[in-house]
Symmetry: C2
Subunit: 202 residues, 2 copies
């Protein structure tokens, strides 16, 4: 009798503590993605260490699967983990602002998204790649932030020289810099969404 | 004795079929988000029925949490579930192409993203909202597709009249139409990613 009770208690424990039907499991996972989309924040303080390439590659892969106009895949991503190059990019970016502070907030990695101007949707396409990079970063526990002025940097002579050095040819426009790394801050609370963000036509 | 065996078998079944430690759960969920980002496809065939508003609102919420330049929330979303308005938008969109076919592929819902031109990052901002909408749609089992020509439609006199009718004032540019609904097709296989999508500077 003791064993029956013990077994029954154990069964109930298993049921209550960790079991979802497949349907519930599915809902939970769907909510996880919505949660990632909702809790991704711009991170402005980073640890020095470069995350493992395996993690960075997961983020990059998500970027390459962003939709693009007519599926033309107009963007490219330059994944910079080399410190000297990262510092040079920081300096060029700061110069656009007329300053010298690190606009990359100490992040050790920069994923530069550029897009081919020959495609009419290039700017929208490149932005979607940036979005996937930032969401994927949060999904794997990394921090990220969109840093602008990629356009100005890669329209400059020094920027163009970098693209050439990297073997990139074509009429590419800088869309954004997705800085990446382990956060050195708690995830910030979001600002309230503005009241009239969504209008319904029912 | 029979009860002991039954209970033990039941316990083992519960253990093997549905239990994850919190850590495993966490990893699994992270992968779920990456999987959603990777398997979201543009859907070009839809069922007629409008999805429940509860589901549409989850998608909309994810859209509003997309990052925007300096957190200015420059975009707005117009969620159209009214059939007459949806059909009118389809007709205006088709007219830009000089045709009459439904560019919305029969989707019953259109989430129009527009962004306020007074903010220099408005076009990037609006694109990120579009990205979140499409990813969230896939996360809750809905199909979506970016349909362009929102710019042309809302730069036209008829488009401006619609904005006025909806009580929207300001210098808004159409960024994209996120069509939405239950898919009437299997999720398409992705095209291969181009070979030189990612360049590494290590």
């Amino acid at each position: 009798m003791k064993y029956i009770i013990l077994s029954a208690v154990f069964s109930l424990f298993m049921l209550s503590s960790c079991c979802n039907t497949p349907k519930e499991n599915n809902d939970m996972n769907q909510n996880e993605t919505l949660e990632v989309l909702k809790t991704r924040r711009s991170i402005r303080a980073y640890q020095d260490s470069v995350p493992p390439m395996e993690l960075i590659e997961k983020v990059l892969e998500a970027g390459t699967y962003a939709p693009t106009g007519k599926g033309n895949q107009s963007p490219i991503i330059v994944a910079v983990t080399d410190k000297a190059t990262r510092d040079k990019l920081s300096q060029l970016n700061a110069a656009v602002l007329g300053g010298t502070n690190d606009p990359f907030y100490g992040a050790p990695v920069v994923l530069i998204v550029l897009a081919d101007r020959q495609y009419p949707t290039y700017l929208y396409d490149g932005s979607l790649v940036m979005g996937n990079l930032m969401n994927a970063a949060h999904a794997v526990g990394l921090g990220s932030c969109w840093i602008h002025r990629a356009k100005e940097v890669f329209d400059s002579e020094e920027g163009k020289a970098l693209l050439k050095e990297w073997g990139i040819e074509g009429d590419y426009e800088g869309i954004g810099n997705c800085i990446l790394g382990y956060p050195a801050q708690a995830n910030p609370a979001p600002k309230a969404r503005k009241a009239d963000y969504v209008h319904y036509v029912k």
